[in-house]
Symmetry: C2
């Protein structure tokens, strides 16, 4: 059994607003699992690079969908690639009476570590299956599995979840006492991400799969 | 008048799927303006760091909301901080008949450059005003402006938009010809981000402001 929390490190410890930080494993998993996409940062020639990609968590590994052609993948072939991965949900806009107390509710996980290309075909198949099941229950069976050649052309990076933190703001407006009677609206505006009605491709008459939804 | 497109550089040119790339200024502005938050990558001791923050574009500068306490801000006090900023909209999930052709529609802008702390109080006031107007029309007037002390405690980073690119996937399912008759559903599942009904803070009876909406 892994510990219930990830360890705190210099780079995963906030320098302010520490009360917004959590290292709880289950809470971090939940934020990761709710999202379809993440942002991946790495360093090339001393400069930061950043790109969005799709991800899926399987146990304590975060798998990232990649592309064989990019320098990212080349970089990942040696000792692995030091990365930061962020997954963020914007949950609400906070409108305060004073300008500086405007804020946002959010949940954001940042994981640090070394990402490596997944070479094992069986693992890659399991990752693809997990990615499809995240989208729709049963989809890994209700779709054509990859050929060996397709699998070889599909790059997957694996990042062990060993150093991860969750930063979140929840709750309502925090205004200064002296501002509470000002004649300005204050409150919370929820932000939500939802799946729309599935639009079948031309000629498709089958019923759509059972979508798992963003949450 | 700036050119209608940003220049292509090594780091803003994709090594594959180049047809998905655009450098069009108006298209890039539109993607930035539709989003409330972005991800900011930078390098500390050779390692990638990544965090989410709120942003607002004013002309050809992307302003990022920061915090005075963090090393990010300290780093920004000298020659500026080399950063990558990404703003991504997930627009749809693409379910193909074959596993490997599953994909996502998205629009993602990545900007590279050197971010600097904004010192000028007048500029900071304009940035805060723009951020509030993005949330709700008229909100910069219908809220208490910052005192000089509040303004001094509010850190804003400015990133000139000189090197930016847009990567997007649009459209429907792309399956192999040989797979079109397979008995699996295929199609597009739209993903959308929406604002919910404003929830007033305790005691607030004023009508809510006119929200600008995510799009």
């Amino acid at each position: 059994m892994p510990a219930t929390a990830y360890p705190r490190t210099d780079r995963s410890t906030a320098t302010r607003a520490r009360d917004r930080m959590s290292y709880d494993r289950a809470a971090i998993h939940a934020v990761i699992d709710e999202a379809y996409h993440c942002h991946l940062a790495f360093v090339v020639d001393g400069e930061p690079r950043l790109l969005p990609t799709l991800h899926i968590r399987v146990g304590e590994t975060l798998y990232l969908h990649g592309s064989t052609g990019s320098y990212l993948m080349l970089a990942a072939r040696g000792d692995g690639l030091p990365v930061s991965v962020a997954i963020t949900h914007l949950d609400a806009l906070i409108l305060a009476r004073s300008q500086v107390h405007h804020s946002a509710n959010y949940r954001s996980v940042v994981a640090h570590g070394t990402a490596r290309l997944v070479a094992d075909p069986a693992t890659k198949r399991r990752v693809l299956d997990a990615l499809l099941e995240r989208i729709a229950t049963g989809r890994s069976q209700d779709s054509r599995p990859p050929t060996d050649a397709e699998l070889a052309a599909t790059a997957v990076l694996g990042l062990p979840l060993a150093e991860a933190s969750l930063r979140a703001r929840t709750g309502g407006v925090v205004d200064d006492e002296a501002d509470l009677d000002l004649p300005h609206w204050a409150g919370v505006v929820p932000v939500s991400t939802t799946l729309g009605r599935p639009e079948p491709a031309p000629g498709v008459v089958l019923p759509p799969p059972l979508l798992s939804g963003p949450a």
